[in-house]
């Protein structure tokens, strides 16, 4: 295996404010190889966006306590100075967001915002930066790009705005793109276009992508590997085919079963009973145990250590589905 592009080990994030601290992440470990696409799946509040922002150290410095290790291209992100961080952000590691309308500055043109980034990291004249911006807009498939260069964000459709946001993020040729639910706010038809675009650009530029979504269909479309998050922990990880095809963690299985896709009209959708735990008072054991049909006594006592139900797979569960507790796969599994 080559050296990982991104490696996160035992990442803890707690938000301190008024009252009890909120434990947003507990012991998150992740690994991304160059040119790989990792999807982080989870409900709102599961910590997927926090994980993404922690990678770029974009969490509010004063309130967020970060523990653990984040190493990007062999460098320790948590030890970086502000200056080093600013040099990395937008240049080697870029981010796109869920709502491009609010993520772009409303009073500057698209071209000005891309050119600003280009000049910040690559230097050069304003004219050269604009030329680069135009090039990027064409590359992400914005029609009549020359005209759109002088458009304001509100003058573009949602799909075009997200394309402009992608052009902005990729303008300095990053090795890693962090995508925070970039298709969630888009219409279904536009959604698939943006996904295809990201996949094409990923292949062309050979960058790694960490893609956060709550949509299993989106994950299946774009990911190489999948990490499922629940209450600030990664509960399962593995290749997209294995995790979505043969989930080991009951929560993943529950997510798949409650997905409205591939369900016949009128058929019952199996919702997971109960609600996620309060992050201010996490249970001592598995956070999912209170909602889990397969829970045993041990689940409530301690947090399940990671088990490896198969090569390149991880699940934090005492009773992984379809696998014997020792970690060997059994023949039939019940999802």
């Amino acid at each position: 295996m080559s050296a990982p592009l991104l490696e996160i080990a035992d990442l803890d994030v707690a938000f301190h404010g008024d009252g009890t601290p909120v434990q947003a992440l507990s012991g998150v470990s992740l690994r991304l190889d160059p040119g790989q696409v990792l999807c982080i799946i989870g409900e709102s509040g599961s910590g997927k966006s926090v994980t993404l922002r922690a990678m770029m150290r974009l969490l509010p410095e004063r309130r967020a306590r970060i523990g653990g290790q984040i190493s990007f291209a062999g460098r320790d992100v948590l030890a970086m100075t502000d200056r080093q961080l600013r040099a990395m952000r937008g240049r080697e590691m870029a981010m796109i967001f869920q709502e491009p309308m609010t993520a772009l500055d409303p009073v500057y043109t698209i071209g000005a915002q891309i050119a600003e980034t280009v000049r910040r990291h690559l230097g050069g004249t304003q004219a050269a930066a604009r030329a680069r911006a135009l090039d990027m807009l064409e590359r992400v498939g914005v029609p009549s790009a020359a005209r759109r260069l002088d458009a304001y964000p509100h003058e573009l459709s949602g799909g075009l705005r997200q394309r402009a946001m992608i052009a902005l993020a990729l303008s300095c040729g990053p090795q890693l793109l962090l995508a925070d639910e970039p298709t969630t706010a888009l219409d279904a038809t536009v959604q698939i276009q943006v996904l295809l675009l990201l996949r094409r650009l990923q292949a062309e530029l050979g960058m790694g992508i960490v893609f956060v979504t709550h949509d299993l269909g989106v994950a299946a479309e774009i990911a190489d590997r999948v990490a499922v998050m629940y209450a600030g922990r990664i509960v399962e990880e593995g290749s997209v085919a294995e995790v979505l095809g043969r989930p080991a963690h009951p929560y993943t299985a529950g997510l798949l079963a409650s997905s409205v896709e591939h369900v016949a009209p009128g058929a019952e959708i199996a919702a997971i009973p109960g609600a996620p735990p309060d992050l201010r008072a996490l249970p001592p054991g598995c956070s999912f145990a209170p909602r889990c049909r397969h829970a045993v006594a041990a689940c409530d006592a301690t947090v399940p250590p990671p088990v490896r139900p198969g090569p390149g797979r991880m699940a934090r569960c005492f009773t992984p589905l379809g696998f014997a507790p020792s970690g060997h796969a059994v023949e039939e599994h019940v999802a």
Binding site: M56, L58, L85, R86, A87, M88, R89, G90, R91, A94, M95, F97, E99, T102, A103, L104, D105, P106, V107, Y108, E116, T117, R120, H121, Y152, H154, E155, M165, L168
Partner: protein, 314 residues
């Protein structure tokens, strides 16, 4: 260009309405305008003659139209108490008020804006609490009372600055000789706008700082100063709207503050016109002040359209 024209056209009916109200005010207010002109023992014939001379015997609508016609030609009538043209009186007074506003408004803007930005930097911190305290005090204290206190302290106790008036009038406008008269009234006038600007700037900057585009700017690797520049640029249209409104209020002069300092500005003039029941002077002053307010609002509208691309359509 279409937007500019539309806003201009929208301002016209407002101006018309204002003129109607200004004219009608005098007839709604208690007291007969003739009272001050004719002696109490005048005969009915004299009263009728004076009424006819001032055109007060004609129907109200006709009176209004005659008045409007003159106003549109720049003729605001003659002051009853001074017998000088109302236009001249108003212009002189406005010039004097303008001198105070020229000092008070930039001071309020700079101090208020700086206070607001500083408070927004560490919300909930001691700077924020101090700014909030100062702003609330600035807005809540009656500014004429502050004026009196300033006079007692700076003029009476410490003999630093003159208490009232505006000096000989011969000194150059920017010389210390004339500036020293302007300091205390300007401070009294600046307090309310300063407080309002500080509070609004704080709210506006805090609101913008939580916007996603600020996160994008950081994720692009922009320096904090660039991020701040973007936030302030976004806050500008809102701040200008508030400054415009406050400018309008200040141009109206404060009857109380200008009276405390015997400053012959527009507020002072208004007070005099009311006391003397000088109807043409009152109508003319109120009309000009109202028109300044309308014009300021129009200007703010146009500036906002210029500064915020989202307002350019529709």
């Amino acid at each position: 260009m279409g937007t500019v024209l539309r806003r201009l056209l929208l301002a016209l009916p407002i101006a018309f309405g204002v003129s109607v109200v200004c004219f009608a005010l005098v007839y709604i207010a208690p007291g007969d305008p003739l009272q001050t002109i004719v002696p109490p023992d005048a005969t009915q014939a004299t009263i009728d003659a004076v009424k006819h001379a001032y055109g007060l015997d004609k129907p109200l609508v006709v009176q209004y139209l005659i008045w409007l016609w003159r106003v549109l030609h720049g003729n605001l009538g003659t002051s009853i108490s001074t017998t000088r043209p109302v236009a001249l009186e108003v212009m002189l007074a406005l010039g004097n008020t303008m001198r105070l506003v020229a000092l008070a408004m930039p001071a309020a803007l700079i101090v208020g804006y700086a206070m607001g930005v500083a408070a927004a930097r560490f919300p909930g911190g001691w700077i924020d609490r101090a700014v909030t305290g100062i702003a609330v005090v600035g807005v809540s204290l009656p500014n004429y009372w502050v004026g009196v206190v300033l006079v007692i302290l700076c003029a009476v106790q410490w003999s630093l600055l003159p208490a009232t008036g505006m000096g000989s009038g011969h000194a150059a406008l920017l010389s210390w000789e004339s500036l020293r008269f302007m300091i205390l009234p300007s401070i009294s006038l600046a307090l309310i706008p300063m407080g309002i600007i500080a509070r609004s700037t704080r709210a506006c900057v805090l609101d913008l700082a939580s916007h996603d585009f600020v996160l994008t700017l950081r994720a692009k690797g922009m320096s904090e100063s660039t991020v701040t520049r973007h936030v302030l640029r976004n806050a500008l249209p809102q701040v200008i709207a508030i400054v415009g409104l406050q400018f309008g209020y200040l141009m109206g002069g404060s009857i109380l503050v200008e009276t405390v300092f015997s400053w012959p500005g527009s507020g002072f003039l208004l007070g005099r016109a009311i006391q003397n029941r000088d109807v043409p002077l009152l109508q003319g002053t109120v009309l000009v002040l109202a028109m300044i307010f309308v014009a300021t609002n129009l200007l703010v509208d146009l500036l906002q359209v210029r500064l915020d691309p989202r307002l350019r359509r529709g």
